[in-house]
């Protein structure tokens, strides 16, 4: 009787919570959990949406195919170059920008808003603008022509296309992370700076022994978010180069998109999707390990 009562009270307290969570949980289940599990299963199937009756279990065949597939290897290489090239750049630049913003800069809030602006503009719009900017008669070449250069098709030259997209991406992302760092700075107790100052620490020492160690969790957060986002690079290449020229900007997600919706090979596309998932997982774990907060260790990694 007593137990029943307790359980009954427990349920009545629980049910409003569950009910309130229900809409979110349902949407999450339908639009995230289900596709996540479904695409995992798909990765082991030969699945063609126009012919679902003939779906067959192929085991690990989709994964085995990957490494004999020239285009996959190329896409993997380009994606890794993109991640390794942009993530440290973006993070360092964002940190630098945030440090500068701590100083006495006139019109600081306008600057902050300006840096943040690219992250509220659709990536499609940014990509379209840069597509023109990089064209032979575009803004970049016009500027270069002032010093006697210019006329280069940055996106049609296989040697420069990926780099051009990477630079655009750093530009577009840096403001957002700078604002995150800026907010994190505000969380560092002033006393620590005062103490460092009393100890005679200069700007460099303060940065090295106070700011960076205190920012470690935020740096880890920024690196993880940015790594995951960078592995998923799609819109930029889809709008600007469609993977060209000569495959120089082929990326994993672009390839999985084409394998699924153009090649109708949903199983293979899902296998690629899980490669992206596993790679971003591994990179994220490495980053988190490296930047785990290390209180009491003297701040030296």
């Amino acid at each position: 009787m007593l137990t029943n009562n307790a359980a009954g009270r427990g349920t009545s307290r629980l049910s409003p919570i569950l009910t309130l969570l229900l809409p979110w949980a349902l949407v999450y289940a339908v639009f995230f959990l289900f596709p996540f599990v479904f695409s995992f299963v798909l990765a082991f199937l030969k699945y063609n949406p126009l012919n679902v009756q003939n779906t067959t279990w192929v085991g690990l065949e989709n994964f085995a195919r990957l490494f004999q597939d020239e285009r996959f290897v190329r896409a993997l290489r380009n994606t890794l170059v993109f991640v390794v090239g942009t993530v440290p750049m973006t993070t360092a630049a964002a940190l630098g920008l945030a440090v500068l913003l701590r100083g006495r800069v006139p019109g600081k809030s306008i600057l902050k808003a300006g840096f943040f602006l690219p992250s509220i503009i659709s990536m499609v719009v940014i990509s379209l603008v840069f597509k023109l900017f990089y064209s032979p008669s575009g803004g970049l070449n016009n500027a270069l022509s002032l010093i006697g250069l210019g006329g280069h098709g940055w996106l049609t030259d296989p040697a420069t296309a990926l780099g051009a997209i990477m630079i655009m991406d750093v530009w577009a992302a840096v403001g957002y992370y700078a604002i995150i760092f800026d907010a994190a700075f505000a969380g560092i107790p002033r006393e620590m700076y005062e103490a460092a100052h009393l100890e005679g620490a200069g700007f460099k020492d303060t940065l090295r022994y106070v700011t960076i160690p205190m920012l470690r969790p935020v740096i880890a957060f920024v690196l993880v978010i940015n790594t995951i986002r960078s592995f998923q690079i799609f819109i930029e290449v889809f709008v600007m180069t469609q993977g060209g020229p000569l495959g120089a900007t082929d990326t994993l997600v672009l390839y999985l998109y084409e394998a699924a919706f153009r090649g109708l090979d949903y199983g293979y596309a899902s296998a690629i999707a899980y490669v992206v998932f596993i790679l971003s997982g591994i990179f994220s774990i490495l980053v988190v390990r490296r930047f785990r907060p290390q209180f009491g260790s003297g701040g030296v990694a």
Binding site: P49, T241, L246
Partner: protein, 410 residues
């Protein structure tokens, strides 16, 4: 109070789910579900006219977007919620025919074959699975002012490869920022449309009549070698850049489609340009071939309203109905023959060229592996234009890769 809370949350959930795109697909007798890509206001009147002529039949028209329409069609087929009648681009039809999801319309073809162009993409293994609706040919655009400056006669556009090359060379020499010809590069889905115009004109092709790969033919090699020479007097860039330069009067010639007639009029009203048939190899040999994209109408095999859907398809693709659509959208022309004798099209000097060009146009080969084949072909052309391969080796490598694709669909 608790009850109200639960109810309101459930209601909210229902709204969210409905908003999430779980559209209902209840079957109603006498209702045809028709998916297509044109602005709904353009297609509605033609559909209402059909309803008036066929009492008892109701048509629900839905507009798909070019960005995600194909994905939506795929998802609908996978889940069995496809419409009765659907518009499909000509490059997509063969795969759908091959998978067996389309209704066989060979009987209609036997009846009216001669009254329409662009049947090819609907053919697979001797049967017909799609009705041609509208089509868009690609022609040669040229800048009159640049022709005059280069000492060429704008009233006498290049008719042969030699004349095209000579014109491109003269215009290219005018100044550093002016280019003779516009050649697509660095983008995935366009290259073959421009190159194949020359290959087809020279009697070349991708597959022969029995489906064998002939991409490494001597005719294609000649065309690719010519294209390579032409590229020396060309701006080698993406379509947007070519269009931008053409509008700015910095590009002498390019091959493109009828949407430019509207775009140039709006965006570059002062531009003096004309259009002409794509040049042929020589006065004695070859044809003025070019690429055309066709929009096809397909009835899905598992539709419960096949007869009505087919009746609607046949209404839509008739000359007068297709004409009404084309005059509104101004970027395509009826697949039904007749435009060449119709002042509504032939009365305009430029539009007439497009209509005339479509008589010698080809669509992409009707093969279910086309999407993969397209990538192979584009890459081989690109390799030659970037100097990574010589034409003969590029064509033979591509042909080998194409044979692998063809074999997979046997």
């Amino acid at each position: 109070m608790n009850c109200t809370l639960v109810l309101s949350v459930l209601a909210l959930t229902a709204v969210l789910l409905a908003a999430g795109g779980c559209g209902s697909s209840e079957e109603r007798d006498g209702t045809i579900r028709f998916w297509q890509f044109w602005d709904i206001s353009v297609v509605e009147p033609i559909v209402r006219e059909f309803e008036a002529q066929n009492p008892g039949i109701k048509v629900e028209v839905e507009q798909l977007t070019w960005q995600s329409g194909l994905e939506k069609i795929q998802a609908a087929i996978a889940s069995g919620t496809q419409p009765d009648l659907c518009e499909l681009g000509s490059t997509w039809v063969p795969r759908f025919s091959y998978e067996g999801v389309l209704e066989d319309v060979t009987a209609v073809h036997s009846e009216v074959a001669d009254s329409f162009l662009m049947w090819d993409s609907g053919l697979w293994r001797g049967r017909v699975y799609a009705l041609p609706w509208v089509q868009g040919s690609r022609v040669l655009f040229y800048n009159e002012d640049l022709f005059v400056r280069a000492g060429l006669d704008p009233a006498d556009p290049p008719e042969t490869w030699d004349e095209l090359l000579a014109a491109a060379r003269k215009i290219h020499a005018l100044s550093d920022d002016i280019s003779g010809f516009g050649l697509n590069l660095g983008e995935r889905y366009v290259l073959y449309k421009k190159f194949m115009a020359f290959a087809w004109g020279n009697g070349g092709g991708i597959l022969d009549a029995s489906g064998n790969v002939v991409f490494d033919s001597g005719e294609n090699l000649e065309a690719l070698e010519f294209y390579q020479v032409l590229s020396r007097y060309s701006l080698r860039e993406k379509q947007e850049v070519l269009d931008h330069n053409f509008k700015s009067g910095l590009l002498g010639m390019q091959i493109s489609g009828a949407w430019n007639l509207r775009n140039y009029a709006e965006e570059a009203p002062g531009l003096n340009y004309r259009v002409a048939l794509v040049p042929r190899p020589s006065k004695q040999a070859g044809t003025h071939a070019s690429f055309a994209g066709a929009e096809m109408l397909v009835v899905f095999a598992n539709s419960k309203n096949k007869d009505d859907a087919l009746r609607l398809a046949r209404h839509l693709h008739q000359y007068n109905q297709a004409k009404a659509l084309c005059l509104e959208v101004k970027s395509v022309f009826p697949a039904a023959v007749g435009a060449i004798d119709d002042p509504a099209f032939a009365g305009d000097e430029k539009v007439r060229v497009f209509v005339e060009q479509s008589l010698t146009c080809q669509t992409a080969p009707a093969h279910p592996g086309w999407i993969e084949m397209e990538d192979i072909i584009n890459r081989s052309i690109e390799e030659v234009l970037y100097g990574k391969a010589d034409p003969r080796e590029a064509l033979s490598e591509a042909a080998d890769a194409l044979r692998v694709v063809v074999k997979r669909f046997e």
